[in-house]
Structure formats: C-alpha cells, structure tokens
C-alpha cells in the first residue's frame, strides 16, 4: 500500500483526483482540508483518511502530521492542492491584506506542508507534487496580479526545491493546470462584480473584460484530465519536472506576442 497526503483535498479538483487515485487501487490517501462537511464526504471513499489541515497554521499542520504519523512512518507522495483565488486591483481596495492572505495559503502553505512532511517523504523515497497554474508561467492579465504573484512564487519555490531535493533523489513535480470550473469560479465572478462596483478608475475596462474572462472560465475542462496527469506524476518511474493540463489557447497565443503588442491589444479591446 502506498501513502499520499493531499492538502486542499476538499476542493473540487482535489476530490476528483483523490477519487481517481483511489479507483486506481493500492493507495491510501490522507485527505487534508478545512471544510468539515466535505472532509466527511471524502471519508466515505475507500482508503481515504480525512484530516483537518489548515495550511496557514503551524499548529494545524503539526496536528495533521501526528495523525498521519500514527498510521505510517513513510509517505510515497505529498500533493499540495491547497490554494485560493482573489480577483483584485493592485492599487484599489484592501489589496495588501488580500495579497498577504493569498501568499500565506498558496505559497507559505506549501512551504509549511512540505517542510513538515519532508522526513516522511525522504524515508519513503517518495515525491512531492506542487500545484502551480498556467498563471505560474504566463504574463499576468490585468486584475489577476495577486494570484499570478503567488503562482510565480510557487514556480520559483518548486524549482528551487526540485534542485535541492534532487541530491536526495526525491522528485519534485509541478502541475500547471489551466482553467477548470470549480468552486473558485463562482468566487472569481463575485470578486469581479465587486471590483466593477467599487472601482474608481477601471469600470469600463473591467466591464469590457468580463466576457473575455467568462469565455476562459467557462471552458469546462474535464477535471479527470488533471487527475490523469497527477497520476502520471505520482506513478511514473521518472516523472517529468512539470505537467501542463488544459492550458488556455487564447492566453497561450498572447504569450507568443511581444509584451508591448499584448499591452496594445488589451488597450484596443477596451477602446
């Protein structure tokens, strides 16, 4: 039996990946999250042990560690899915607090979990999977800055961790999924509408951008595609350093253009 710990297991993507992994057989999953109702639902799956895991709290991570340790000394993998999204301007509203909070969950949460469970992964000759995003390598869209900042940080963290742990033969892999329709999507819409209501300078821009954003968010990719990539990352003898899944085609095209040209394109759309 192999053991894997998930953070952010109660999210839609986390749950889907856990379901697929359990179907595969041979894995026991420690499903970490904060939503108790969803944790209870996860607990009904075979070979899933739900546990409360708030990645922003050292105490909670320590407690989760004790729970995992009471079942096993070794982990075959840690999968960091915990993440949040906020759509906000970089100059208006309460952006400093929002960014701090997001960095704490998306980046420091990952650092906390990997640091705490490192020895278990080491003695299990396991691997670490960090969930980045297509935002981790694309030039940020306007008003999506904070999320992109955290994912850029995740990329840098992941790559430096990979080059550190490769000396101990511990693979570190990053997932770079595109947009999936999850519980985060509704929040993005709500944040967007709030931004339109409260902005002093960007109402026209935000209103014009909304259909573009909707187009990207409503692509409705099958989360099982992500689960399949994750399973490759977990089971491949020599996993790749990164797995891209369902990358947005429009956004990827923009990446091919010079920065100035993309800036002009955004301006042209709004005009």
């Amino acid at each position: 039996m192999k053991y894997v710990l998930f953070s952010g297991a109660t999210g839609d993507l986390g749950r889907c990946c856990i379901e697929e992994l359990v179907k595969l057989g041979g894995w026991t999953v420690f499903a970490g999250g904060t939503n108790q109702a969803k944790l209870a639902a996860l607990g009904e799956l075979d070979n899933v042990i739900p546990l409360t895991l708030d990645v922003t709290s050292d105490e909670s991570v320590d407690k989760a560690y004790e729970t995992v340790r009471s079942h096993t000394y070794k982990l075959d993998a840690v999968v960091n899915f915990a993440g949040i999204h906020t759509f906000t301007s970089m100059v208006e509203g309460d952006c400093v607090k929002e960014i701090e909070k997001m960095l704490n969950v998306n980046v420091m949460g990952m650092v906390r979990v990997n640091k705490r469970f490192f020895e278990m992964v080491r003695i299990g000759r396991g691997r670490i999977v960090n969930c980045s995003s297509e935002s981790g390598w694309m030039t940020p869209q306007p008003f999506n800055g904070p999320y992109t900042m955290t994912k850029y940080a995740v990329e840098a963290y992941n790559d430096s961790l990979r080059r550190e742990l490769m000396f101990l033969n511990i693979p570190v892999v990053k997932l770079q999924p595109g947009s999936f329709k999850t519980q985060l999507t509704e929040k993005i819409y709500r944040d967007f509408d709030r931004a339109i209501e409260t902005t002093n300078y960007f109402r026209k821009i935000l209103t014009t951008m909304k259909p573009m954003m909707t187009m990207e968010l409503e692509l409705d990719h099958d989360p099982k595609k992500l689960a399949r990539k994750l399973i490759s990352a977990l089971t491949a003898k020599h996993p790749r350093t990164k797995y891209k899944v369902c990358t947005g085609k429009l956004l990827m095209t923009l990446e091919l253009l010079p920065d100035k040209a993309v800036d002009l394109a955004y301006k042209a759309i709004v005009r």
């Binding site: 000394y73 020895e119 003695i123």
Partner: protein, 331 residues
Amino acid sequence: MSEKYSVITGGTGYVGLALVKYLVGRGEKVRLLLLEDHPCLDGLNCEKMFGNVCNPEDLEAAFEDAETVYHIAGVVDISGKKEDLMWRVNVGGTKNVVEACKKTGVKTLIYVSSIDAYPDKFCEGVITERSTYSEVGLESPYAVTKALATQIALDAKDDLKVCCVQPTGVIGPDDYMGSSIGAMVDLFIKGLFPVSMSFGAYNFVDARDMAAAMRNAVDAGRSGECYILGGHRVTVDELMGYMAAALGRKKPRIKISKALVKPFVPLVSKVMDLAHLPPMLNSFSLSKLEENCNFSNEKARREIGFSPRPVADTIRDTVLWHKQKLEGAIA
C-alpha cells in the same frame, strides 16, 4: 534469584545466543521466542516458544510470568531486498513488544538498538549517547528503523524500566546465522582473501561482553537511558593482522587503496549476490568503513559495568570458531 522468566526475542542471532548462554550459565529461567528451532540451542536449559514479534498474541503468550524481556529480534538488510520485512519487524515488532510488556506487567525491557541510530557519522570527535532518536539525518533504511524503534522503546520509560543498548559492529563466535563479517572470516580462512586494505576502520564489540552488560543493565541501568556498547576501533589492516595471527599465518602483504577498490564494488557485490553470500562488500559497507566510529563506551562502563575484552581475544575466538565450522566440527 528471580523465579520469573527472562524472555529473549531473537535468541539464535549473534547477540541473542551469547545472551542465552550467559543467562543459562547464571542459572536463570530463560524463555526464548523463536521463529523456528535451531540446533545451536541444543543442550541449553531454556524454554522455547515459537512465534513472531509481528504477532501481538505470540508476544503476550511469551511474556506470561516474565520479569525481564530482552528484545533482540531484528532484521538487518543492507541489500534493500527485505526492506518491508525490516520495517515490520524492527519498528512494528518493537511497538508490539512494548505494548505486550505493558499488558503483561513486565518490569524491565532491554532493547538492542544500534549505533546506526546515530546520524553523527560525518562529524568529528567522540560520539556519546543522545536522549531522543529520530529519522532525521539518517540515510540507510536500517538506521531509520532502528532509530524509530529506539524511540518507541524509550517512550515507554514511565510504564516500565526500559534501557537500550547500542552495540557497534558485533563479532564473536557462535555465528550460526551467517553474518557478513563471518562470511569474510570464512573467505580469509580459505585463503580467498589474500589482500588487506590500506584504509577503513570500524568499532567492534564482542557479543559475549554485550551479554554481560545487558544483564547488568537490568539491575543497574536507568530507565529511559541508552548505553553505547562500543568495544575497540580496529582498522581493516589490523583486523587482517589479528585474523592471520589467530591462524598462525602471515598477514597479507598487499594493501589495496580505496581508489582501487571502489570501481570493483558493484561487480564484487553482484558476484556475492549470485553466489548467495552475505553482502560483505558493497557501497554501504564501504562507506561504513570510513565513517566516524569514535564511540564512547564511558557511560556503559560507568553505569552497567560494561567491560570489553581485548579485541585480539575476540577475533581469535571468532576465527577459531569459523575454522572449526569449516572443518565440520560445528553443524
């Protein structure tokens, strides 16, 4: 003299058999928990029970009426082939032993840990006992299992008296189970080990000296304490010299350097594997020879009367035992 039993797990190994002989020699009531019987126990006045440390029921049955438990059973695997078994026996087995001791009211548990539980091999200076043990800094899976098991045993110190002894490289006669060093001695006696090495050293302890110290620990040891049972530091070349002297031969004149040995290690280890010999020389054993083996036995000498005999005596007895075995005098 206590009317209650002293129970030994792993009684047929190097350390186990030396302890059985020592306790039986003192007239103590000894019960062994064995996987299977072995001719080496013939003629020893002890009770045998058959069972597995991985089965809590076997342990509880074996610990009935026991005052002291010596938990020696363990798996040493440096080839990586029996890693799962090693985890189940070394860590799971020790957990079971501790629980069974608590349940059956055993007063004293002596656990044979290992010097491998120390992550200090790259440091300089004298290595002394620690108060806690964990997997941090340990590379080999064997070391990790021993460190975790040691901590499991120490954690029970409030429920019963627990002492851990931590031997360095155990040698001595009565190597019925076939150790790596025993295989090397066999080759040397047969004249198939005609060279010495100009590098490497290790600390060796006589299993018989360990047995006496373990028995002393029952009375004089302090609960929750570890005792390093380190004998003498011997270089590979000195070891060759002692073995040659025991056989009345000349020491091998050719000494090979590490640079010469290293490229052949994978080949030699493969050949030994194919010949079903214990893994005498592989990258693990080679690295062991270069680690800091400056272990202090000061605490064990002071508190549990550990008194290692001269290493020349140990090696002579070991070599003569193997010689008898090769001549067919020992089954």
